[in-house]
Amino acid sequence: MKRFCVLTSVIACLVVLPTSARTRVPLQEQRGTPDLSGFWELSFDSRNVPRANLLPAITRAKLDAHAKKDAYAIRWCNLLGVPFIMDPGRPLDIRQGSTAIIIVPENSSPPRYLYTNRSAHISDDIFDPSTNGDSIAHWEGDTLVADTVGFHGEHGISAIPGGGYRTGKSRLVERYRLLKEGSILSVTFTWTDPSVFRTPHSYEFRYQRLPATYEPRQWLSCDPFDEDRARFLESPSSPKPTSRAVSKE
């Protein structure tokens, strides 16, 4: 009987351990938190985006004006920023380090840094608003909660999925959670902005994990001085360089 029990335990070890290693959600080293690292891609059925509840002040004219600015950013190969780079048409490379989680898109926009080594945003008087804003993140159980402020109101693509746009007053809270034994990454985005949304605007993307052997592709060049490209993009409503003239001082 004793020999049988030992044998059973050994077999259990041999069978259960490799299985658990395959199916267990990967853990980040020594912290016991899930490891979100990997290559993640959105598919055609990865988005659940309800219509945003906008303030009455967000008129068609305002939305058109922002759409024009977004077209300008594309025309001139500007940095694109959040929220665009979370759905850039190519996979995201997410790597979880000891001080930050980096999200790298396969285009020329800079990566996002979700800082896990501080719990407060950079002071307004220091931080220069940017297309990605200032992101800090912490774990609530198995969920990474990222909080972003400090967006630039004019730079990059400002359109928010479901309607509306980001401004300098926008705040984004994201909740990252692994599903289906780590094969799916659910990200719930919640935007609040007292100048745009009547109620917080939430939507969810579900990214699919790509094989670990995936390698990001060299991003395609964007040449703002390619006249043929400019003609292709330009339409009667195309953005023109702003009225800023060469300064005389």
């Binding site: 070890c13 979880q96 790298v104 220091i126």
Partner: protein
Amino acid sequence: MKLRVVLVVTLLWSFAAPPMVQGQSSKIRLEGDWVRIDPDGVGSFGGLNGVIPPAQLLPGVSAGGGGGRGRGGGGRGGRGAPPVSESATPNPEGVPYIVVAQPCFGGVGRSNGALLVSPDSGGVHFVEHKDEVIFAGERGGVRHIYTDGRSHPNVWTPTPAGHSVGRYDGSTLIVETSGFTPGMVPGGGVRTSETRLVERFEMSPDGNRLTITYTWEDPKVYQKPHVYRYYFERAPTVESKGTKVSYALEEWCDAGDPIEKQSIIPPKQIIK
């Protein structure tokens, strides 16, 4: 019975214990924000490039970018873009010179990833994961350094940043890169699709200094490996809400903004 208990405990421990990451548990971390420094006090980027030992090229190989003037490739902000021809007549006071014909564009694709083979004045940032190290620059460019044991792919279309695999030797990250597009290398060197680069990212014992040693090898180009070093310090911190912090900045450049084309505005002259 005792043996069974031991086995059960072993089994439970193996579930509870997080996976150890080789070479990452107690080392000084490369992760964080860094800025290049001028340890010799040469005072300019031209001077920094000038102290790079000249590459010893094989006879018949044309130098890339001249002694010490080579660049790793295009980047943002009009670096490398063709300048507008300068007027022989000085501009009147207060009228800016137009010095960049194509701002924000390096000619071969903005932020094409090559820049970080030879970082310049912008901050650089590392995030270390057991399978991959991300090396990102504030002036564009992101390098993916695979540390999961993979080798270079058999089929690879050359890119400005090449294909990089890395491993740790203690706290030093050693990165081997091949598969470059042809281009220039600092110190008058050149690179081809057959050139191999080995970088050693080595930190000081206190973790506050970083030395990158570059070794370019190509028996069809160099008489001997072309070796030089860049030096970095942890990025300066700023005081924010009572805490000293550093973070990645975003370099904005709008190619459609005419102001991006201008540079020096002649200052008001003071006649004594």
